[in-house]
């Protein structure tokens, strides 16, 4: 379980997050919805301890990670997998090297097991035949699947998706959402999805939180979004995609 308690974050004079509290339970999919540049991706980075808040606390599985040192954060981060918006694949490595990198690097598994897990992930992500290709030779949807595979391969409890369908064509988007949903059901994973596409939220999220002007204005079951009277939520429900 991940919790943000009264988190405030500023960049210089600019307030990005104001007193934000959120919790994400294991085995559920929670979407964080909001317009571009409002600080949604920042929330994911806070959850991983990649950036520190100005005030408030971040709790991961009962451990307050707010003030942990970088080296103390590594074991916490290994409980979570992150899929970056631009995928952040290592461009000098092949697909199978990208998938196996953290198994070799952090878990130090025997090479046979690494190979086995990589092969399973390649099959699960539908990337057979592309093992030796560099990321630049793949389509956007395929790169996203590699990024998801890389996040999943060391079996985290929670997976964080930063705009998983941004920039993808409708077919690839559908495929990625189906992959996330399958994963959650088959592996009982918790997931946080940051997005500005409302349809994605209704497709797969059990719970949703809406971030607007640095504050959480809605945090409940996804279906209850329809009942919200907040003018911003009413407007986004009619527009479907947030481009504010």
């Amino acid at each position: 379980m991940i919790e943000l308690r009264n988190v405030t974050l500023k960049y210089g004079e600019k307030v990005i997050l104001k007193n934000v509290s959120l919790s994400i339970r294991d085995n559920t999919i929670k979407a964080i919805l909001g317009p571009s540049g409002v600080g949604k991706s920042t929330i994911l980075k806070l959850m991983l301890g990649l950036i520190k808040p100005n005030s408030g606390h971040i709790i991961v599985d009962g451990t307050d990670i707010t003030n942990l040192k970088e080296t103390e954060l590594y074991p916490i981060r290994r409980k979570m997998g992150m899929v970056f918006q631009g995928n952040a694949l290592f461009d000098s490595m092949s697909i199978s090297e990208n998938l196996g990198f953290f198994l070799r690097e952090n878990l130090k598994l025997p090479e046979e097991e690494v190979q086995q897990r990589v092969a399973e992930q390649i099959k699960f992500s539908g990337l057979e035949g592309y093992e030796d290709q560099l990321p630049e030779n793949l389509s956007g949807g395929m790169r996203k699947r590699v990024a998801i595979g890389r996040a999943l391969i060391f079996k985290p409890h929670m997976i964080l998706f930063d705009e998983p369908t941004a920039g993808l064509d409708p077919v690839s988007s559908k495929r990625i959402l189906h992959l996330i949903s399958t994963l959650q059901q088959s592996s009982n994973l918790g997931a946080v999805i940051v997005t500005h596409i409302i349809d994605d939220v209704f497709s797969i999220a059990d719970h949703a939180a809406v971030l607007y002007q640095g504050e959480i204005i809605f945090d409940d079951e996804t279906e209850k979004l329809h009942r919200s009277e907040h003018p911003f939520i009413r407007s986004i429900l009619s527009d479907k995609i947030l481009e504010l």
Binding site: L48, L73, Y74, G81, F84, Q85, A88, L89, F102, E105
Partner: protein
């Protein structure tokens, strides 16, 4: 009105000073981290070998070109000058001291700052912009240990043979020009070189190699790590890395010579 301008200037200066001090603090901690992770070299030996090839083997041509050109130039100019005093036989001595103590290591440092430093800045900057460095941290890998430490270790080791190569090429080219341009017998040239060169001259020259390795690697890598603002940001980080490390190489060159010569 002027008072408002002065206050605004004062505020700007104080902000800039604060920013500078924070950057210095960050750079210092970044450098410490790079040194503290050196014991992990065995774990990253493949990265080390890659970097050793890049900053060592692949840099040989540019080091040779710069050493040969400076050796030749020195031989011609110093030879002409010595000829006026009828002291052409001292050409070996003066060129060897210049090449081994100062110009060999300095030119190599500047060339490597441009070649190895720019590569570091651009590569790490691109990794930073595309969130690959964040990805390393997010999955529990220390990016300094993985990306900077092997570069530092490779530079510390490879800059020493490159200095030797630079000295050798510089002296050989000077000897060649002494023979073919100034018609000086090679025996006279080398006789003026060897007995006159003492351990102090080699210490001055070779002590610069690790100092330059540290400056070039850490400055360029740090600038790559803090790159922001898309591809233009990578360009800015690369340029800043080269400019700052080249400037520091020039300053360090003076101080290393001064410290060693005063204490030996």
């Amino acid at each position: 009105m002027p008072l408002t301008v002065i206050r605004s200037l004062e505020k700007d200066l104080s902000l800039k000073a604060k920013e500078f001090l924070l950057t210095m603090q960050e750079f210092f901690l970044f450098s410490l981290r790079a040194f503290f992770t050196l014991p992990k070299l065995r774990r990253y030996w493949r990265d080390f070998l890659d970097q050793a090839t890049i900053c060592g083997t692949d840099s040989i041509p540019i080091v040779l070109v710069s050493a040969i050109s400076i050796g030749s130039l020195l031989a011609i100019e110093v030879g002409n000058l010595l000829e006026d005093f009828g002291a052409k036989t001292m050409l070996g001595r003066s060129t060897s001291i210049s090449v081994i103590r100062e110009l060999g290591p300095l030119l190599m440092g500047l060339m490597l700052s441009a070649r190895f430093g720019s590569r570091n800045g651009a590569e790490l900057g691109a990794m930073q912009i595309s969130e690959q460095i964040d990805a390393l941290r997010a999955f529990g890998t220390d990016p300094v240990a993985k990306l900077v430490m092997p570069r530092l270790a490779a530079a510390l080791i490879m800059f020493i043979p490159l200095t030797a190569l630079s000295d050798f090429a510089g002296l050989q080219s000077a000897a060649y020009l002494a023979e073919h341009y100034h018609h000086l017998d090679p025996g006279i040239f080398w006789n003026a070189v060897y007995p006159r060169l003492g351990p102090k001259d080699f210490v001055v020259g070779f002590a610069k190699a690790p100092v330059f390795a540290i400056i070039i690697t850490l400055v360029s890598s740090y600038n790559g790590f803090i790159a922001k603002g898309g591809t233009a940001g990578v360009g800015r980080a690369t340029i800043k890395g080269i400019v700052v490390s080249s400037g520091l190489v020039l300053i360090a060159n003076f101080y290393v010579s001064k410290i060693v010569l005063e204490n030996m």
